[in-house]
Amino acid sequence: MSGAARTSASERARVVWEGLTNSDGRPELIDVPILVRPSPEGSRRGRIALQASAEDGGELGRCYVFNDEWYPGCPSTVPFSHYAPTLARVLTAHERRGETQPLRLQLLKAVGAMTPAGGRATVLLKFIMAPEHTLTGTEIEQVYGCPLSVFYTRFVGVPWDPQRRRSASAGVRGEAIHGGYRRAAAEQVGGGSPEQVRAAYLDGVRAVWINRLPNYFLDRPAGPTVEHTRPVEAAGPVVDHCRRTWPEPDGTRVLQERLFYAPTRGISGRADRIEVPPGEHAPWRLVEVKSGGSFGAERDPLTGVRRPGGLQSLSYREILRSFGLEGLRAAVEQVGDREIQAVPLERHPIVARLGLSLEAGDERAIDLIAQARNVGYCAVSGLYSGYDRYLLDTAGDISRYLRGTGGDYDLYARLPPCQICPAGHRGVCSRGARSGVTPLDNLFRYAPSRLYAYWAWFHRQLKAEESAERRWLHHLVSTPSGLLEGQEGVSVGELAVRETTGYEVRLGRDRRIETRIREDDRVLLTPVDRLPGQVVSIEGTVTGVGEREVRVRLNDGLDDPRGCYRLDLLGAFEMRPWQLEGLTDFLLNAVGGATVRGRQLAIEELPHLAQVILGAASAAPPGSVPLHRADDLNPPQCRALAAALALSPGELLLIQGPPGTGKTALIAHLAHAVLGRHLFDYDGGAERRPLLILANTHRAANEVVRKVVERYPELRPFVVRVGVPRTGMEPEVAAQTLAARVGAEQALNAIDLAADGPETLARLVRRGNRLHDHAGIFVGTLGAADAAELRGLAFEMVVVDEAGQATEPAMLQALRHLPPRLEGRLVLVGDHRQLPPVVSSELAAPELPASHAALGLGPGDSLRTSGFERLAHLHPHALLTLTDQYRMCGPICELVSDGFYDETLRPATPQVAECRLNGWLFEAGVVDFEALLARSAPVLFVDTSRDPAARDGGARFHGPGITDEARDNPREAAIVAALVADLMAAMPGGRRAALIAELGVISPYRKQNNRIAQELVRADPGLSAVRVDTVDRFQGGEREIVLVSLVNSNPSAAMGTLHADWRRMNVALSRARRLLVIVGDRSNFTREVDRAEEDEARRRYRRLFNRIDALEARGDAVVIDSQTLALGAR
């Protein structure tokens, strides 16, 4: 919390506390944050004794919490109140976890009670626990429906079985109606005619249909169904409703899908709509739109009608009230066949059933929200069970209310929505057990110890990451913006709007922008006089960051084009926990695939592949089969291909592919061979398919698709790129998505949606069904394991590309689509000597008992240790390495091979070994070879060791989890720019674009990259198109010429955390084909320093520079002192 805010909150807390101490013994509704820790006095049954302090640490005094909200002198209690038992659980869990920080409470009601002995006791009655931990409105509603479901799905991570075909049409129908309604409302408020409003609605429906079409393919309609017709039929009611609600433009503003967050309530959400009428005192109106789906909906006690969205609306209303918005009106709109029914919140069934009164300060409404929020916090954080196997297994034994949560049972839904909870369907939850599903009784206790230890070790780390994400919004609103911008680089302030085009906005300021925010980041744009998340913030995605401007694509229209804004990085606090789901799915499949049930399992009873992954069985050494028609593969590739084809079900193969060794080409051959082998084995609609390829990134997945269809055009009809065409997807890749193959966009854009939409959509779906039936190769990202195209399918073989960059839980996604008992073939392709997985913060991994050393995890391992790396160490005999590379010329290859691959890497052909830049330049029409780069040997090292001007600017950003220290080195930037400009000057005008396309500049720091980009433009405006990027973003790319700026040069020889991971330099150097230029301070990286964490990196840097010396001695490298460079001489 910021200094000023903390002082203010602390002052308020002191005033409130003082007031309580002197009160007349009557409870008071208050709203202040305090910190509490267990009092040394100790607690006893029914009473918790606490020591309270203000946010600034100032002591407030002792206080108590009693069961049932009792306090000395109270006239009556609140039976089954959740506050005391839940707080007791939280404190116990905190103590068990060894947490030393006090617990934050947002105090809502307390009393300065008079004891019978005449003393005073401060008693806390109602409060929100740990409000810095955000729960979304959807999660709150889920807790209300069934806390046990939240525990299983949000903490344990029980997912739906992706091999079960599960319809998703209803979801798309709802989205389509929402999408259309949103556009129609914006059009109507903007003064559109009825025709325009109707057209806007249909455009919204169309956009959703195009983007979510694969979800419809899970159904097999003979003709249009209600899922197809409803969105079109809803056009009339939506348009009529819009016209009735906003008959004339009256200055009402409509804020749609705005993110809002109450730091005092620990709840975030997005209301479908907030209507802000003109006039300062006119009440705002909050609207939640529902278009179907009665599971979990509250039933009206009088009419029996089901109404969803009640608690969500109540929660959002409470958030807005916490901002000081009083007199707020709220409603749930149900989109029906003929009309939209707007049900005011006070007439919603949830309000009627629970007898709530929505007047200000209604305590029962507060209890309802607080209970869902507090119990939800405990459930998603695992505070009820921790990693106690007994508690994990017995969580639901007593009732669906989670053991020991206490709580007022009246404040839960009458019936849990088990139909939409995966825990029952997977046999984990005995309460929601489904017929035909074998229950997994005592899952955690019967799992072999090593399997459980493996699950728990990764689970803890994933939950720690998630917890940090959930606290992100609180961090944003409680930290001064200057600190967020200056120290952490996650905020940019004082931005003015330079240009808006639709929802695209260009923001800028005169001061330089130095930030960690970059392209594709999710951000929140907020007026500078407001805090992020207070309704007026608009979400968006960054499309570009320049020296003094940022471009953002917003999700809603800008409210004030003349305003001054701040831009904040938005965390991933509400992302689906797909890695957690993959991890738990592995646990379920391993235990479910065991040969016995009903007792503790021995690890030998698990499926063979699970044993291999857990180090209990050896992976079989690579086998071989005769190969035909693999002329364009080199011997190591052939060996790897033959080994992959020789795999038996349940076996694992690891293929290490150093840079340029043709991993993707190998995968393309494998795809061809596997499809050929299984082409006639599967029928239309069959659950078993030949091959699934999952990559760590969209870029890698696209590259696989491109390579497969380019090398084997005859496979095109059978290859599916999972997902829909995305921005930046190459046309030949986009063409392989099912949406593109059925011609969705053209077909839906060409018709009158109102007249022909449902029929056209149904036809597209039937066409998609056929294409899907015949498809044999599916390519997607690891996060897409639950994608519609893959639901219901198991694969003979699953290949994971870039496995070295995937966390282990992410890699486990691949196993979700192996046949039952994991009896499929698993091929991991990657390189653990290139960049490791990206995790959102530097986490300390929990200790793993020594008895589980067989897992191959030791000190120093964490979520950043990829599954590929662990398995390569565990099963070295199952690892094949591709050693022949097609990218780097001889000297560059030698440098990389010596530095990072124990001299095993070699050029695949003499042509590769001997290619030189001058040959390429000559072909490009260059006749002037005077430029230093043009006449250089393949390796050029510009040493800045003796150059006093070439020192870095020091680390700018500090903080937990910040690895990019934002260093820069102006002198190195100038050298790089001058070298490039010098070469460019020699290029014939018509060939400059070709040179720019084949030139890349890399440094580990974004700050340095910004500086280099600016220097390049300064040297020659035509150089603005040169790609300047970080190592991490360059991985997978290559260029004829690559310049690397090392940056770090300082008196203490600090190489920083980025360089300390030597794999980063491997990636940087191995991007170059013909010319590699390194600019940096040799001594900074080779000097003896007393920092153990840098030892390995320094050893490799020494080897690297020694090899450059050796190359120089034989004329394959040039070493220049930067002080001798005559920059700009030409």
């Binding site: 050929g676 006639f680 009809p717 059978f718 036809r763 015949h774 039952p820």
Partner: protein
């Protein structure tokens, strides 16, 4: 053992009992639908016996067992009995070969095969196109599934009508045709 031998072996193995596609099809390169179309098997569409009733050796291990134990799942077209023609073909390879050639050789897309090798992917692609076209035309489609096509080609290869080349990835019509196969039956 070629595919026709495998067909005869299958018919012998089923004998008077029930043949379940979930037991016999996986890994066999045969298609029960195609064998039914050839008249060698007859689908049990009424009173489909539960797995325990015909003593399936996969009891307790088969993922489909539950479908036949209760109600709800579609059970027709999944269990078969051998027909009289099947029993005759099981005993007479020549008869089986003639049946295969007479029934399958003229069917699309086999009828389009010539002496030039064709990629199996392009044949499969023809099936796909026919299926997709049928969506718009509201016609039946290719009339043959991918598995049936594979089984048909393998049987025709065993009959000497076609042969596979390029490691099984291409197929062509034998220049001496089925006549040779029919006169050269083992």
């Amino acid at each position: 053992m070629d595919t026709l031998d495998a067909v005869q072996g299958l018919l012998h193995e089923i004998g008077p009992d029930v043949g379940c596609r979930h037991r016999f099809e996986p890994g066999s390169e045969l298609s029960f639908d195609l064998l039914a179309r050839l008249g060698l098997l007859r689908s049990i569409d009424r009173t489909v016996p539960a797995c325990v009733e015909h003593g399936c050796p996969l009891l307790g291990r088969c993922a489909w067992e539950a479908d036949f134990a209760g109600k709800g799942a579609r059970r027709s077209g999944r269990k078969f009995r051998v027909t009289d023609a099947g029993r005759a073909a099981a005993a007479d390879r020549r008869l089986l070969t003639r049946l295969v050639v007479d029934t399958l050789d003229g069917q699309p897309p086999v009828d389009a095969l010539g002496p030039e090798p064709r990629s199996i992917f392009s044949l499969a692609s023809d099936l796909l196109e026919a299926d997709v076209a049928a969506v718009d035309d509201r016609t039946k489609g290719a009339g043959m599934t991918r598995r049936e096509l594979g089984a048909a080609l393998r049987m025709l290869a065993a009959a000497g009508v076609v042969d596979f080349t390029a490691d099984g990835l291409e197929v062509r019509r034998c220049t001496d045709g089925a006549g040779a196969a029919l006169t050269d039956v083992r």
